[in-house]
Structures are given as structure tokens and as C-alpha cells.
Symmetry: D2
Subunit: 341 residues, 4 copies
């Protein structure tokens, strides 16, 4: 069975796992105070070209989202997000569990734009009874988005300007950040990302690690006593080394970017195979997730030989499905897929 | 200055206040255990023709909404509501503060319909990854709605059938219930309401009381230790008599219905005045709130002599405004308004 | 039946109720923006001799406690309180429901002292692993305490010095503040209270009002968007006038202090009756609550003619019971009690 | 530097890591639905001799505690715990963050007893105003406790009887369960544990794994939609295999018990060294944590060559410190310690 259903089917990249093996029996401090966490932090700060950055390691995306959002919002504030944002639909109400409303805006292929965000905020403040409403307290976007699309540098700059104008933080969910940065269509670098938001995270779970997201506060703006907040959410690993060692490996020798690039190359190959075979794309994605519209019969037939992800109903007879590549996708698997499609 | 801006401009109906005066120096038990609370409960049960009802008194609508919703939902459940629902936009995120997501459906003049609710629930359960999503755990509607519209008996029956089919409770916010029941277009009675939902409340704050909402659990289904839950939300009045006495008066001699009817008569008069003067209605409301579209210049001019409520922007040059009547509206004020319009 | 069981058995003081009657049909703004709220605020600020004060009205003590505490604490902070503090034992976990731990210290007749508070805070910061613990984020005391005892000016000054030293706010629960200030043993005035804490409230529910507590932030330190926070907790009355009018009456012509003084005089009379009859006091209380130790048989016998409050078991054969006076206690009732005891 | 400061200084046991390496590139389902999670579940159920068990994997102890407690309690319920319980002092208020009060009882070397628990519950229900208090909703104990002590089978049976009598669940925190079960003084087996509580977890983080706790609901009593609850807390790993593979290895060939036994042997050796050298024990612990009282000067001197954990101040000149062994402790290190002490 060929596997194209998601970007977390394999364990860790060999070099990441190798580093876990090599360091396994060393006696290290707990709770993220070990030498590998420290080293990984320094490498990430350097890769971000951001002296004011503070780096923390969490285990997964939903956890990172809820800890960051709950730490940055006051109780009467909510977070602006695309209605398709992962926090709005696929995290079991984790943000609301921390007491905060998600202020959902209609998306455009997964994205929201500066003008819409500003319009929402202006309308809020113009409303006579806004003191009875949830204040817009931060903006959440993901890069790439749920639909694999990416923001241009100009789009991101404009969003960040709105955030600064209204003095609310911009948070970028980078669960698949490597795949966004390595997209052939991207004009954003990691230092750009660090410069153009207040906090973001570098996804490890979907990009080469067993688990782990590196949260980067970029403007000397880490919430007070952040470690205690992390602990309070049950998100502080006793053996923080598990995350530090992995990110130390990922940010050595450009590994994070190399393996992200591989996933993009596989996605480009996949795209050309899909196009060649006449598949109809649901939207144009320049990253590792590709969405096509299949006749339901065809979908059922294909499923016998390849796993992919049902995304949503298109109409009575058609479905939108997702094929995902990742750092672990093999070129030969794409070739095999060509024969099946 | 004529006052048509809302339905809570005056204190209490004279008979309600009179009863507070008469009983003022009696030594009574606290926390809702006094004789007037008991009497009011019995009168309300009788008016609802509902033997299985349990009645509790809370001070306001937002409080009633959050206490009821938090008491009925499990942590992974959210509440289905019209996107214009009061809980979704005008309660400062009170429901989210208790940890629960509001699952907003597009409204039709403030209403949502059985078919849409069922479609939402079915789509949810058909989704392969619904275990990563918030479960639809109850349905919230208000009657009348935010736009003054009301449900027909048939519409309500169909909504309640869907709720029973999927085993989730139906909750009716009745902050203005009297004005809905007394509407000339209503085919619903108070016993119908009690029969066709799991919990609702009878608004007092906007219908003759200084404060107070009578929460009715209709099917022997009061959440366990409900008084403790109320206390936990800071919603248990030491002098529960304040609410008991008022509802006892409101449910004596048909008072609640009489004064509601008066508000409707005033609203009908107001409507005919507005029509006569050629005003353009934003929508057709059969209750005490009337929405008209005004040119902005006209709006500013009118404001010199009459207070009303800006509702929303209609276009660059026009606004939607609300005129509200209530139990305390005087016929002469509507006449005075006729001269101003 | 004579009633000495609590200080909320009657409705409102006649002058308070009278003012509600007089103003009842005036058209007033909602949500605490009416003229009576404004007037009451000014009178309270003046009575506190505190130009930097901001005053808000809430309906009850538990509500005031949870709203204030949740507004002032960060998520990783808890509130230091006597273990007998009302928030710790008798508010159904309202503070914890908002996410905050109560850091309970052993009480001395209901009180805690500056030295103990400082020791707790110092020990916390000296602990190597305090980043895994709840930070002491504020101090809560009540005045009078649950046992009717009061702080001296010197004791309060020392507590406030500790709070300022560690930069955490001091919050005084004044549900029975009038009875504390009018105690013959009190050397504290209302301006002293305002000066020696960051926030406190003046209890109305137990001192002459139907309901209502006047929350006073004393140092230009109202939490940002406090009205929205209040709304979020379901604690914002639509007809804020209900509270404004009552406090306006209570702070006219020294009424709040006069009626508090009456309760103290009744308590002193009650005390002398109890002493005269040879009753054994559980502790020495200088305010309106008196605690005596009764043989269980005697307790059951007395209950036939007078209501009082069982407080706690003393030993197998004895109980601690509370007799409370209030603004509504009549001298003749104390005389009648003399005959019964 | 010799390391005796805690039981999470090393990575994973070699066999555990080896299994991660072997399975690393297999394509597996996410979110705990992979074959290794399934296999581990079966092995654990078998080791527990408990057909009604449901097993879930979480990453750490605080996370397990908060997810389990929040899932089992209703909003007005709290959890009974020793005042020294990990949840009460060292989890940054994680339980309170979920809205629940911890009802702390005085400990006896870390333990609480059936009689005390029953007395607390009885007193609660006898209190006239218990509806204004937090209900005792479950009992939390840890085995071993924070002080390394263990419950006897008889003690545990009696606690569980009280829980069943009052129909509240018993939850055993087993972060160090292996070290408790392998203690020479233990008369409890893993099947006993499964039988004598409603839910417990088998600690992996401190016993051979990189991270991971296996939560076992023992009576067909998993909270409804538990996976969604886990997701809501940000506690659902995308690559659930990380936990499944590790527990599959730990529960193969008796590994979990063998390595726990090793830690106990090292602890016994450590104890005899400490005794031989005349050290004064703070209490008698039969597990992997040993507490001794050191003169502060001696403590500072020792620290140059061996790391251990400061526990608490004993008096002005003495401190309580903890030496911990684990599965990774080497016999030669204990020998080296002998020379240093």
C-alpha cells in the first residue's frame, strides 16, 4: 500500500534518530535545561537571525497553539483566525477550553488578508456596544495554511502592519513551516518570518521529528513565567532532551531545510503526475499538500492501492481528497503512484 | 426626550414593586428557599402546565445563558446557535469563558431551522476526523430572536424532533418571551414552549421586573446539584426573595401576559405610525422590536427628540435602527413620536 | 419565632426601598451608566476620601470575589487566604472555576497576619522548583472575618506593607464592612480601608440593601476593560439602577454607617444577654456575629423558639452556634431572646 | 559528577530505544491507532489481568493527572488528595486551571488513609450548607508517594471500599509505579492495582521511556469520547507510535518489572551505604527515593562531587535532601558514592 495520506506516517529522520541514540545515556538536566536544548535554541536563533528571540520546545501543534494563545490573551480577548484555521475546526475546542473565543473570518484558499482583518477590528471598535463583545486580541494565521497555500512577503507585511497599528500580536502556526519556506513560490525566509510576527513555531512533528514544535517569541516578548504556564498545561516534558536533541539535529547542517526541500520536490513530481493523468485540482497549492477532486467511484477504486485523505464532499458524486508528501516520501513511491493513477 | 431605545429603561411594574414593599420586612430564608420563591415556582409550573418542571431564579440573561449551557454540556461539546445569537455576539464571550465553543449557523432574520441543524449534525458525524472536533451538544435558540422574529409552532416542533433524534437538549432563551407569546402572529403558548424544549427561561428583566429570569427545566432534567453550580458562578442571591417576590407578582392575575400584551399593542401602533410616515422596514418583526432603515442625516436629526438604538450600518448613507416598546411604553409617547417622525 | 440566624433575613432598609419606589418609572440608561450609579459612585469616593477610586456595583459577595480575583490574577497565580476564608470553603469552588488556586494559610480566629504571609511568599521564592508551583499573586482577607473578628489598623498596615514589598495586590472582602467599621473595637475608618488595600468592596446585601456590593479599586488600578470582564461573568445587570439607587440611598445622610452602628449596638446587647445567662463564648467577636458553645440538648430546645445558625461541631455533646444581628434587628427581639435563653 | 538527583536523568532503556530505531521508517497510522499502540495495549491489559481495561498513552505525569481528573469530575466536584500530593504542590495549578479544587488532607509520610477520607466525606455531607461547598468527587493517591512510601494491599483495599461506598472514583498516580511494585516491602501486584482502583497510570517517563504514561481505566469506565478530551488538552500525539512502541518494548519480556527491580536493588544498596556512613534518614522509604537530613555545610561540600535534590529545610542548620536511583543507575556509581560520603 502506497501511503500519501499525511505528513506524519514515518518516525524521525535518520539523523535525528541517530542523535537520540548517541546521547541516550548521558545524564542530563530535566525540563528543557539540558545542553541540547540550549544548543538547539542557539541554532534556531541564528537561523532566524533574531537576537531578541526566545525559544521553547513543545510536543505538538494543538498544544503549542493553546499554550501560546492562552498565554497572550487577556480573558476578554479572542483570536482572529480564518474559519478554516486548524484551531477553529480540528483541535477539539482546545482554545475555547482555555476560555477564549475564536473570531473566524471567511478564508480564501485557507488565507485571510490584512484588509479583512483591519475591517473586522475597525467595525468592532466602531460598534457602540463593543464593551459587551469579545475584543480582537491577536491574529492567528498558519503558514502554509490548511489548504497548503502560502502568504507572500507583501501579504504578511501588510497583516503585521495592521497588528502593530492595533497593538495586538501576530502568531504564525508553522506546523508545516519548512514546507512553506521551501516552496518554489515562496519569497519568505525564516528570518523574514521571525521579523514579521510576534511569535511563531517551527514544526518538527511533520518535518523530520518524532514530535516537537519549536516556539519562537521574536521580540523579547515571552509571556512572564512562561515555563510555569507550560507546566500548568501539562506541556512540560521531564526529559526535555527529547525535543532539544531532535531540534539540535534538525538545525545542524541545514537539515530542516534540506528535508523540507525534498518534500517539495516530491510534491512537484506528484503534481505533474496528477496533471499528466488529467486530475482536476481543487485549488493550486505550492506546498506538500495537493487537493484533487475525484469521482467517488474512482476514489473507492484508488483506495485499494494507495492511502490518501478524504477532505470534504464536493458534490453528490465527487469528493475532495488530499495527497501529502513529506520528508520521508520516496521518489519510487511517486513513480508507483503514476502507474496506479 | 422620548425613549424607544430598549425594553429596560424603567424599573419594575407597579404591582411588582408594590409586592416588594409589602413583603420587605418579613424574615425570610435565604438562597431561594423562601415562601415567595416557592409560591412563584408553583405558579410558573401551573402556567406552563408542566408537572415535571423545576424552576430556578437567576438575575439576568447572560448569567442564565452561561449557567444553563455550562451545566448541560460536557467539556468536548459545543452549542449550536444562530450566528446572530445573543450568546455569540453580545455576551463578552461568557460561554467560551466556561470552556465551550459556539457552533454558529447562518441566521434567517435571527432564526435557524430544523433542516440546517440536522445537516450540521449529520455532516459532523460523517466526518472521519470528528473525534478531533467539537461535538454538537445542544441547540440554543431565542424566542423572540435578536431581530424580534418568532418561531411558529411547526418550526419549533421540527427543531425539537431533531434534538430528540440526536439526543441533545434544546434550550430556548426567553429574555423577551412574553413579547413573543403575546405577538399577534404567535401560535405558541407557554405550555407549548415547556413541551417543546428541555430548558427555557421566562425573562423578567425586560418584562416588568427590576431583574430576574425564571429558568424552567421541563422534563425532570435539572442538572445534578444545580444550586451548587449556580453558586459556583456567583449567581446565587443571598436574598433570593428579590426574585421570588417579583415572579410571584408577575404570575399572579395574568400580569406577565397582560403587560406583555400591552407592549405588543404599543409595537403595533408604532409600526402603523412608521408605515404611515413611509419608513422602510429592515425586516418584518411581529414583536416589540421594530427595525427601520434611516438615512444617516435623518437619523441624526431624529435623535434630537427621541432616543432609539443604532443597530448596524446598512450602506454608506443609511443605518438600521431599532425602536423598542415594552410594558412601560405609554400610548401618549407613541402619539408624540408620530408628530416627530 | 425569633430570627438571629443571619444578617440577610429582611429586605432593604426602608429608606433604600423608598428611593427605589421614587425613581421607579424614570427612564434611565442601562448597565450602570445611569445618574444614580454615577451619584452613588461619587458619594462612595467621597466617603472613602479617595480621589483615585473607581467604583463598580455587583450583586453579591461570591460574584464580587470571583470577578475581582479572576481579573487581577495571571493564570499561574493563586490567592493567599485564611483557610477559613469564605472563598476557600463556602463559595462552591467559584475561584477555582476561574482557574485559580487558593493558597490557604492557617487562621487565627479567622485572621492571618503579615508575618505569616511574608513567610509563605519568601519560602515560595526560595524553593528551587517554584517555577513548577503556583505563584502567590494576591492576598485576600475579609473584614470582618468569617468569625466576626476584625483587623487593627496596625495589623492591616503591616499586611499591606508585605503586599507592596512583593508587588501583589491586597483585596479586602467587605461583605460585612459596615459592621466592622462600626465595631467599638475598630480603629479603622473607611478612608483607612481605601488607603490600605488595592481593592475592596462595601457590602450592601448584608447591610441594608436587597442586593449589591460596591467594588472599589483604590489606586487608579481598575483592570483594563473591567465592564467587559463583568459582562463575561454574567454579572452586569441590565438595570444597573437597581444597585445605583440603593447605594445612593445608603451613602446619603450617613445611612450605611448609622444602620451598621445599630447592628453593633444590638450585638453588644446580645452579648451581654448571653454573658448574663452564663453562655460560653467560642471566641471573642466585636461585630454582629456572636459564636457560643451549646450543649446539643440545649441547642435543640432553644431552636423551638429562636432560629440561629449551627456553625460546627465542638465535641460529641456540644456545638458551636452563631447568633447574628443586623441593621434590621429590633431591640425588642433581643429582649424576647433574654427571656428564652 | 555522580548523578543521584532524580529518576529522569537518562534517555530510554536500550531495548526501548532499539525498538524505536527498528520501527522508525514504517508507515503507521497516527493518533494512537497504530499496531504498536494496539499491541502495547494488549500487553498491558494482560499484565494487569484485567479484561475490562482500556489503555491510553499520554506523554507525562502532570498531563495525565489533569486530563484524568478533568474528565472524571463534574464542575462542582473536587479531588481529595494528600496535601503533599504532586497535583497539590508541584504541577503549577494544572488541576485548578481545569476548574477543580483540590481537597487537601494532612499526609502521613506522603500517604492518606481510608478513615481520614471517610471522615472528610461524612463531615461534608453532614454540613447543612454543603450545597455551597465543593463536593468530594474523587480520591487521588500516588503509589509510591512523593516521599517514596507505598500503600499496603490492606490499606488500598480500605481506601477503595470508602470510594465505592460513596460512589466516587479512586485514581492512582503511578508515575513511579514500577518502583512501588518492585519494592521488597510491597504486597501489591499490578493486577491488584488494576482491581483496587478505577483508573491509574503506569509511569514510563521515570521508568525506562523517553516519555510516556499508560493510563488504564479498569472497569469499562473510560469517559465518553476520551480521545476528544485528550485532543482538547493538546495531549494527543500525532505520532502516537512514539508512545506505543516504547510501552510495547517495556511490556515485552517483563522489561518494565526487571528494570524497576534494578532501581530498587540500587536503592537498597544506597540505603545500606547511607546507613553505614551514619546518615540520618528523614523517613523510611522502601522505594527508589531516599531522604536524609544533612547539615547544610555537609550538603554544600557533597554537592561538589555528587548531584542530589534539595527537598526542604529541616531547621536552621539542616536540610532534607533526596537521593534517587532509577533503571539507569549503575552499581559502580553507588560504589563511587560510598567513597564520597
Amino acid at each position: 500500500m502506497l501511503s500519501f495520506d499525511c505528513d506524519y506516517v514515518a518516525g524521525a529522520h535518520t539523523k535525528v534518530l541517530q542523535k537520540l541514540v548517541e546521547t541516550n545515556l548521558e545524564s542530563l538536566s530535566g525540563y528543557g535545561e539540558d545542553v541540547y536544548c540550549k544548543s538547539a535554541r542557539e541554532k534556531i536563533k541564528k537561523a532566524c537571525n533574531c537576537e531578541d528571540a526566545d525559544v521553547y520546545f513543545l510536543t505538538g501543534g494543538t498544544q503549542a497553539n493553546l499554550v501560546i494563545i492562552a498565554s497572550l490573551l487577556d480573558s476578554y480577548e479572542g483570536v482572529i483566525s480564518a474559519d478554516t484555521g486548524h484551531i477553529n475546526g480540528h483541535e477539539a475546542g482546545a482554545v475555547e477550553y482555555t476560555g477564549h473565543k475564536i473570531l473566524a473570518l471567511p478564508h480564501h484558499d485557507g488565507k485571510i488578508f490584512a484588509e479583512e482583518i483591519e475591517k473586522y477590528i475597525k467595525t468592532f471598535y466602531e460598534n457602540d456596544s463593543h464593551s459587551h463583545m469579545i475584543f480582537p486580541g491577536m491574529v492567528y494565521i498558519s503558514h502554509p495554511t490548511e489548504y497548503g497555500t502560502i502568504y507572500s512577503k507583501n501579504e504578511l507585511e501588510k497583516i503585521y502592519e495592521v497588528c502593530k497599528k492595533y497593538e495586538i500580536p501576530l502568531f504564525i502556526d508553522g506546523a508545516r513551516l519548512g514546507y512553506g519556506l521551501m516552496s518554489k513560490e515562496s519569497d519568505l525566509t525564516l528570518p523574514d518570518i521571525a521579523k514579521l510576527c510576534d511569535v511563531f513555531y517551527i514544526g518538527g512533528t511533520k518535518v523530520g521529528a518524532l514530535c516537537g514544535e519549536a516556539v519562537v517569541f521574536t521580540k523579547n516578548n515571552t509571556p512572564k513565567n512562561f515555563v510555569t504556564r507550560v507546566k500548568q498545561h501539562g506541556a512540560l516534558l521531564a526529559k526535555g532532551r527529547l525535543l532539544g536533541v531532535q531540534f539540535d539535529a534538525l538545525f545542524s547542517d541545514n537539515l530542516y531545510f534540506e528535508i523540507s526541500k525534498h518534500a517539495i520536490e516530491m510534491a512537484e513530481k506528484l503534481k505533474s503526475v496528477l496533471k499528466e493523468k488529467g486530475y482536476r485540482f481543487f485549488l493550486e497549492s505550492p506546498t506538500n499538500q495537493q487537493f484533487v477532486i475525484l469521482e467517488n467511484k474512482k476514489m473507492d477504486e484508488l483506495r485499494k492501492n494507495v492511502s490518501f485523505c478524504f477532505w470534504e464532499k464536493y458534490d453528490e458524486n465527487h469528493s475532495v481528497v488530499r495527497f501529502a508528501t513529506s520528508w520521508s516520501t520516496k521518489e519510487e513511491d511517486v513513480e508507483k503512484l503514476r502507474k496506479i493513477l
